[in-house]
Symmetry: C2
C-alpha cells in the first residue's frame, strides 16, 4: 500500500557538539519519506527549488520513493539553520529561509489521490487541509504540527485535527496546544476534538499512545550515540505509517508495534547527521532493535498472594 | 525480612495548585517507610523534635513500623516549606529549617544492626556512611541523594556509592553528579564507580534501571490525578526495597517487578497531599495498578518476514 507523505523538502545547516554540516538533506517530508520507505512504497508531495541537488533525487529514487509530487519552482530550496547545545534536547534556530516554500500550493498528483496511508508532516495547517480535500479515500490520516502553527493558526489546526485519525505531537506541543501541563489531560482534550488517537513523542523519554480507553507507553531507547536529533520525530512518523501501510493491520496490537517501529527509526536517525544513518540502515537492524525494545520493557506479573 | 530506612522525619508546609497544607507529615524516611510497610516489616532510623505529634507515631505504629530508632531531641522537628507551580514538575523551596536534624548522629539500634534490606534515603552522605558502618550483614543497600550533596559533598558521595548495591537518583541528579546530559552515559559512569545497579527516576517519564549489561525501562503512569508530588521518589524507593525484602528474590526479573512496584507506589503517593493517599491505600489497588502498568507497556513481537 502506498504511503503519501506531504512535508517540507529542505537543506539544513546543522551544528551539534559532534560537528557541523552545511546544506545537507533535510525537511520533515524527506525524513518521514526515507523512514517510511523501509516498509512501504512511499511517495512525497512537496516543493523544492532549482538548486536542490540531483544527487538527493537520485538517493530518494534509490529508495524507491516516488518524487513525482515534488514541484520544482524557480528559486532556492527551503533552508533551516540551527544548532544544538550540549544537552541536545532543544533545537535552536539560527535562520529559517522559506524560499520557494513560501509559494507552496500542494497538488496531489492524480495517481496519489487514492492513497490510503497519508502523513501530513509539519506544515501550515491550511495547506494540510488543502491536501486532505484532494484525497479520495484515505484510510489512515496522520498529522504532525509545531509550536508556530499552534500559536498562529489555532483555528485551522482545530479543523485539521477533526479530520485526521492520528495526531502526532511532541510533549511540549501537546501541552501548548491543549493549554495544560498534564500530558494525559492534553491527550484527552485532543481526543475530544475529534481525532481517534494521539501519539505524544517525548524524545529521550519514549512515546505515548492515547485512544479512547487505551493507553500505551513505549519505552525510551538508551541512546548513548546521539549526534543529530534533527528529523527524529519525522523518522518516527515515517516508520509508524510505513509499517501500518505494509501490514495493513490497524488493530490496537499492531498500532502498538507501529509506535515501537517509529521509536526504532527515530533512535537510528539521531545516530548520525541528516539521514546518513538511515542511508546505511539494514532491515535486520530494525528487527534487532525492535527486539531490544521488547527485552528492555518486559516484566513479569506478580501474584496477589505475594503481597498478602 | 525487616527493611531498615534511614532518612528525614519532617513536617512539611506545602502549596500546590490543589491546595495548601501546614506542618503535615513528611520527610524522606517517612515517605519511604510508609511505602515499604505495605510489603515488609519496616523500621525507621531518624530524628524528630519534641513537637512531633503523637498522632504521627500512632499512625506509623498502626502500619507496623518500628519507630524505636527515632531519636527524640529537645527542639523542633525538621521543617520544609515549598510550593509547586502549575506544571508540578519542580519543587520550589520557600524555607528549610534543619532544627534537631542538624544534631542528627544516626545510631542503628542493636536489633536492627542485622537488617539485610536497607534504604539510605536522601541524607548527608557522611551520615549515610556512618549508618553503613554500623550494619553487620546488609544484603541489599540502596541509597538516594540530592543536588545539595552532589554540589557540596562529592567525595563522600563517591565513597558511599562504592559501598551500596543500588543507587537511586532522579534524572537531573544523575546528570549533575556524572556531569553529562546523557542519562545512559551517566548511568554507565555510576556503574563504573562501583555500584551494582543504577535506577533513574524520571517522574512523569517513568524510571530506568541500568546494570552491567541489562537495561530496563519502566513506563510512566498516565497520571491525571496529581495533587502533591512531594515524597514520590521516596515512596518509589520504599516500595522497591519493601517488595524485594518481602520476596527475598534478587533475580533480574524480580528487580524489574520491584521497579514497577516502586512506580505504582509513587503514582499513588502523588494523588493526594503528604502520605494521605497511602493512608487509605489497599493491597488490591497495588495489584490492580501493577497490572495496568503491564497492560499499557505490552507489545507483541514482529516477524522479520513482515519487513522483507
Amino acid at each position: 500500500m502506498t504511503v503519501l507523505i506531504v512535508g517540507t523538502i529542505g537543506l539544513d545547516t546543522l551544528e551539534t557538539p559532534f560537528g557541523k554540516k552545511k546544506d545537507v538533506l533535510g525537511g520533515s517530508g524527506i525524513h518521514a519519506a526515507i523512514s517510511s520507505s523501509f516498509f512501504a512504497k512511499t511517495a512525497i508531495v512537496g516543493v523544492a527549488g532549482t538548486d536542490f541537488p540531483k544527487e538527493h533525487f537520485d538517493f530518494l529514487a534509490s529508495r524507491g520513493i516516488d518524487t513525482g509530487g515534488i514541484q520544482i519552482l524557480p528559486g532556492e530550496t527551503f533552508r533551516w539553520s540551527g544548532y544544538y547545545e550540549y544537552d541536545m534536547n532543544q533545537a535552536h534556530t539560527r535562520d529559517t529561509r522559506l524560499n520557494v516554500y513560501a509559494l507552496f500550493d500542494p497538488k496531489v498528483p492524480d495517481n496519489l489521490k487514492k492513497a490510503e496511508y497519508v502523513f501530513l508532516a509539519n506544515l501550515d495547517p491550511e495547506l494540510q487541509l488543502k491536501v486532505v480535500n484532494q484525497l479520495e479515500k484515505p484510510k489512515l490520516l496522520v498529522m504532525d504540527t509545531m509550536n508556530y502553527w499552534i500559536k498562529n493558526k489555532r483555528e485551522a489546526l482545530h479543523e485539521i485535527v477533526k479530520k485526521v485519525d492520528f495526531v502526532l505531537l511532541n510533549d511540549g506541543e501537546a501541552r501548548q496546544f491543549m493549554e495544560t501541563p498534564n500530558i494525559p489531560i492534553a491527550a484527552a482534550r485532543l481526543l475530544k476534538l475529534g481525532t481517534k488517537a494521539v501519539i505524544i513523542k517525548k524524545g529521550e523519554h519514549g512515546a505515548l499512545l492515547f485512544t479512547d480507553g487505551v493507553h500505551f507507553s513505549a519505552p525510551s531507547y538508551p541512546q548513548d550515540i546521539l549526534r543529530d536529533p534533527t528529523g527524529a520525530g519525522d523518522s518516527f512518523a515515517g516508520g509508524f505509517i510505513g509499517y501500518l501501510a505494509k501490514t495493513g493491520d490497524l488493530s490496537e496490537a499492531n498500532i502498538r508495534r507501529a509506535v515501537i517501529i517509529g521509536s526504532v527509526m527515530a533512535s537510528y536517525n539521531v545516530e548520525d547527521f541528516s539521514a546518513d544513518r538511515l542511508r546505511r540502515l539494514k532491515h535486520k537492524e530494525i528487527i534487532d532493535r525492535f527486539n531490544e525494545f521488547r527485552r528492555f520493557s518486559e516484566f513479569e506479573a506478580i501474584s496477589a498472594a505475594m503481597l498478602s
